[in-house]
Symmetry: C2
């Protein structure tokens, strides 16, 4: 510690340095959010200088604490902390805040900026990510720690604002974290009574401490968020109370948004706009900050630099890891593999054998059932598979023999998420970000709408998350239009970097699972049928081609029609093909379980599957619009559903909506007869 | 009352009749959800025979109580109640539960079955619909009631299950209802400790009474939900406590799911599957129910028939309404117009004049700003416009001079919803369903994901709700990919019956608002720019054609290229057209602000706008896939964005992603040069 300053003076300097880096960066960018960094600076100092266990030299250290900025608009606070504590984030990058190609985008982006654990900005999701991280930590600890050997033992810290707490997902996250007793999750509420529209009194009247207590949290109320000692004391209380059953902790920090700005502190004006030159100068004067823009006093750099502490903690952990590896060499190797996200050696061979085996079985079943069997086949080889469902386990079929339910007092491999689709989706992202698991979670396809932003975030963060969505068309039947997806398949395909697989039988379902677990750079969504789907026989070439996303399932010499279909409609396409072939019409059927994977194939492959100029008929029990892209360059038609469904037995619905061989044949004949 | 039975015996008979209608209908359908009706039967008897103020002979009576079944899978309970209380829902329809074309679909559908106030099934949304209904009641009462004349004074009653309460939207709805002190909202919690996966203890540990108290609700705990008198007593407590500041009420009813079934009561087995013949018989025996399937004793029909009470209450209200009309004839006429959902006479003339005026102004501005001005121009003529924003008022620009903020103690016309996009969306549906208002609510377009299921429900219910979504492309700039919509425009267009308008200037913005308020059979979503958009000059034909959704904005004799564009990209299309015309290439520009409205135009109009065989180039700063539908039948290309955005100033992003005249020109030339 610097001898010229008291601890309190150093803390103040550090907090003000964080404030001014944020102020100056927002000024330079002429846009951004200074209010939150100015309001949470002391909380950040207390956590980052006294408690956060991390090593700036190795941001991927498996047992580091996770820090999540759920109120992600305050990104400059995080960038300032990363820069000053010693991450590879030079001051030049802070000066390029919100500029093209900088490491300091408007909201924190994981994978883009070192040390950023998750991408935040869409409010409330950071908290749910953190819940996933804390759950992953707890489950990994239970799986890998041994008596006298604690190799997993870190914490997850979260900053949340009033906005996060108004969002519904905060309820899902809080309820789930409470019932799972995630005692190593510690959350700081930036209680500044201001949101974008102004003083929250008019629209946010919750008694937040009581609300979190009602969800089983340990709540530390009424902490002065501008007193580093008070925050430090609250953190110590939280740590003291971190027994297995204590539950997660909420530290309620009373703060002033934009603190330090004479004219704007405590008002919504400081939330999302630069202070302006005059107010910036006034703030410098008011806080006695005599440094120029982006100037950081040496004392601050010394106090916030986390290299030494981080190195020491990391070395201590490495020693523990070495002892563990000596005592449990296989477990240690497995832990390394899991945290690196690598599949076990020989997985590809196993995968091929499994697909071949399923093909040999030639079984008729619902693809949701085929999915359950696929999970069961993989679960032994892939202990990192961690499944679950949002209270539809026996409909989604996500459990498997011996999986074990994850409970507060019991580790397992299947999570009952409760009726919390969005919270589940965001927590899955947190589990994947944490590492050590390949998480999947399930609901009905129509309720992907509830989780849609989390699915988008899986893709934006390029995380290996598997979203399992069953009951994938009107053929779910009697539950009716509220439960029948119509627009969901094409609309999910529009999310960049999300692979949507809709397998046509058990074979494609097995292959889709392999594609999902083998994909290192993004999420997969599986759309699965409620109803039985017949097995499709294939030659070797077709079997090998499934991973290409679209392939010739049945061919003819010089086809005059190509029928493209997915999922349950592939059987219909095959039926129509047979009828046309009987009339002497040569028809090719292309099964297209995953359009985005097909899109990534080389041009010549795609042109070989969909030959130019040959008429194409696409069939899918969903909105038709998306298929026109695959009909360009040839006469075409789409058999789809461009209205909401209805409540009735599946067969009647399929008949009514034209998903019968007769109706499709008529469409095919009309297409072939067109000039 | 029947003299042979005590009140308690009649109540029991009624509850059991409801139980068996549900059991028998689910048996007949071989699918459905008997558990909830069996568990909430006594609560329904208490509410429907003793408190609910409604008139089965006039389900549209404006001052009727609203009843919402948020746990919509229990639809048979509602159908049984509607049938027995005297709505036009014959027993034959109950026997056709979940069959094609019946009035008794799997989940309740408003507009399809008389007396069903809202479509439910997607959990939690019914509660938020009810919040909107209660708010509409409160605001209408404040606007229309006069001293001594209460013409608006009804209640909103809601049934919710554990599933609804796990959903995040229940938090948004509860928080908003609490801070707005919606004292005429009374909610019954079916506390049966069972959800689909089983005993909720493993995934739902909330102290629900404490949670609702924390949100400012009046909570009546620990009511025996199988004791009609106890429920009645709790309702009376709620009514006694219904002063202006009491807040909404939650009545916590301890129940047993599937009560009456010897083998299945209290278990998840009875939630969503028929009891089966043997267990149905066992339940008949256990409850001493000696009637055949669908047989209802006369005593039950007499006790549940609401015609007499309903008629009396309705007549009493009509008398009050007549007195009101005598004292305030203009207000009474206006109340009638508002509740019928008719626009004021002469609105079409006003609308034309407004569009012409905006065209004459020829102003350059952001379409979000043009939207604010449009709202301001309409607000005087349309007092039913009720606006708001999910905590982005000064970004979405949804307020207008003199609108007044809606607060617990103050009526107004602009609602600060807080950071509650999904809750807002579902509450807007409730407001529209209630009648008397044309509600609109706003957030950023990217956060339509949070509200997506509610937007879908607006469309499924054909409600006149206006979803205002600003910051409609990467051109929002520095906030980066978490805030930049890319897939949202095409994906929202996939929702059946939703009209998505993306106006290119202030003129189209004004016209889009007119289309939205004039549309009686469905919702509209407005996608509006953050950045300025130049005015587009038009001839009269073009001005008249805006309401057709797509029209020729600028033409050429014998065009060799048609450029289709929307919103901010129309100006780019016009720029490219000028450059090509200068080279002697004849180019037509089609502005396509609303594809679905264009799709509804006659074939000849559409063919005239997009002539067959002429190459087409579509330009939109969004995923390209949806445009191929409009390129069928001609050579085509799409300038779009098929990846996530980035954080940078807007101009740099547009350059990087190819939205410059130069880049589009190159694409146009390549298209024209193609063989």
């Amino acid at each position: 510690m610097n001898m010229r300053f008291t601890q309190a003076a150093i803390d103040t300097l550090c907090a003000d340095a964080l404030r001014f880096l944020a102020i100056d960066a927002v000024e330079a960018a002429r846009s951004g959010h200074p209010g939150m960094p100015m309001g949470m600076a002391e909380i950040a100092v207390a956590l980052w200088t006294r408690h956060l266990r991390h090593d700036p030299a190795d941001p991927a250290w498996p047992d580091r604490d996770r820090f999540v900025l759920s109120n992600g608009h305050g990104s400059m606070l995080l960038y300032a902390l990363l820069h000053l504590s010693g991450y590879d984030l030079p001051l030049e990058e802070l000066k390029r805040f919100r500029q093209f190609g900088s490491l300091t985008p408007g909201h924190p982006e994981t994978g883009h900026t070192t040390g950023v654990e998750t991408t935040t900005g869409p409010l409330g999701q950071g908290l749910a990510n953190a819940v996933g991280m804390a759950l992953a930590e707890k489950l990994l600890a239970a799986e890998f720690n041994r008596p006298g050997h604690t190799i997993v033992g870190h914490r997850t810290w979260v900053f949340v604002g009033d906005g996060c707490l108004m969002e519904g997902i905060s309820h899902e996250a809080a309820g789930f974290a409470g019932v799972q007793r995630l005692s190593r999750l510690i959350c700081f509420w930036d209680d500044n009574r201001i949101s974008i529209d102004g003083d929250v009194a008019g629209w946010f009247g919750d008694d937040t401490p009581a609300r979190f207590r009602a969800c089983g949290w340990n709540v530390i109320p009424a902490v002065d968020g501008h007193d580093v000692e008070a925050v430090d004391h609250a953190i110590r209380q939280a740590l003291d109370n971190a027994g297995r059953d204590a539950g997660p902790t909420l530290i309620c920090c009373r703060t002033t948004i934009g603190r330090g700005s004479p004219a704007k502190a405590g008002s919504a004006d400081v939330h999302g706009a630069p202070l302006g030159a005059a107010e910036t100068a006034a703030t410098r004067a008011a806080l006695g900050w005599h440094h120029g823009p982006f100037e950081v006093p040496d004392e601050v750099r010394a106090a916030l630099d986390a290299h030494a502490d981080g190195h020491a903690r990391h070395e201590e952990w490495k020693a523990r890891m070495a002892a563990y590896a000596a005592a449990y060499p296989e477990l240690a190797a497995e832990f390394g593999r899991r945290m690196r996200g690598e599949l076990p050696g020989g997985f590809a061979v196993l995968a091929d054998a499994l697909v071949a085996g399923v093909h040999d079985e030639a079984a008729t079943m619902a693809s949701r059932k085929a999915s359950q069997l696929a999970i069961g086949r993989l679960a032994g080889a892939l202990p990192e598979l961690l499944g679950g469902s949002a209270d539809l386990t026996h409909s989604n079929l996500t459990d498997w023999p011996g999986c074990g339910a994850v409970r507060a007092d019991q580790p397992g491999r299947h999570i009952n998420w409760g009726v919390r689709e969005f919270g589940m989706g965001a927590a899955l992202n947190g589990i994947a970000l944490h590492g050590g698991f390949i998480p999947f979670g399930a609901t009905f396809l129509v309720f992907s709408d509830y989780a849609r932003s989390a699915i988008r975030m899986s893709a934006l963060m390029k995380q290996r998350v598997i979203h399992v969505m069953t009951h994938d068309s009107i053929a779910l039947g009697e539950d009716g239009p509220t439960h029948q997806p119509v627009e969901h398949l094409p609309s999910l395909r529009l999310i960049p970097d999300l692979d949507v697989w809709r397998p046509c039988d058990a074979v494609e379902t097995q292959a889709a699972w392999h594609a999902a677990v083998a994909r290192r750079d993004g999420p997969t969504l599986l759309a699965l049928s409620r109803q039985n789907l017949p097995h499709q026989p294939r030659d070797d070439a077709a079997l090998q081609a499934i991973p290409r996303g679209g392939y010739v399932l049945a061919d003819a010499a010089d086809p005059v029609l190509v029928i493209i279909a997915t999922g349950s409609e592939v059987a219909l396409a095959m039926e129509v093909r047979l009828a046309l072939q009987a009339e002497g019409v040569a028809v090719r059927v292309v099964s297209m379980p995953c359009t985005s994977v097909f899109d990534r194939q080389p041009d010549d492959y795609r042109a070989a599957v969909l030959p130019a100029g040959v008429p194409r008929l696409a069939i899918e029990a969903a909105r038709s619009d998306g298929w026109w892209k695959y009909l360009a360059g040839a006469p075409g038609a789409v058999v789809g559903i461009d209205r909401f469904g209805a409540s009735a037995p599946a067969d009647e619905l399929l008949r009514h909506f034209g998903f019968t061989a007769g109706a499709v044949l008529a469409r095919a004949r009309a297409l072939l007869a067109a000039p």
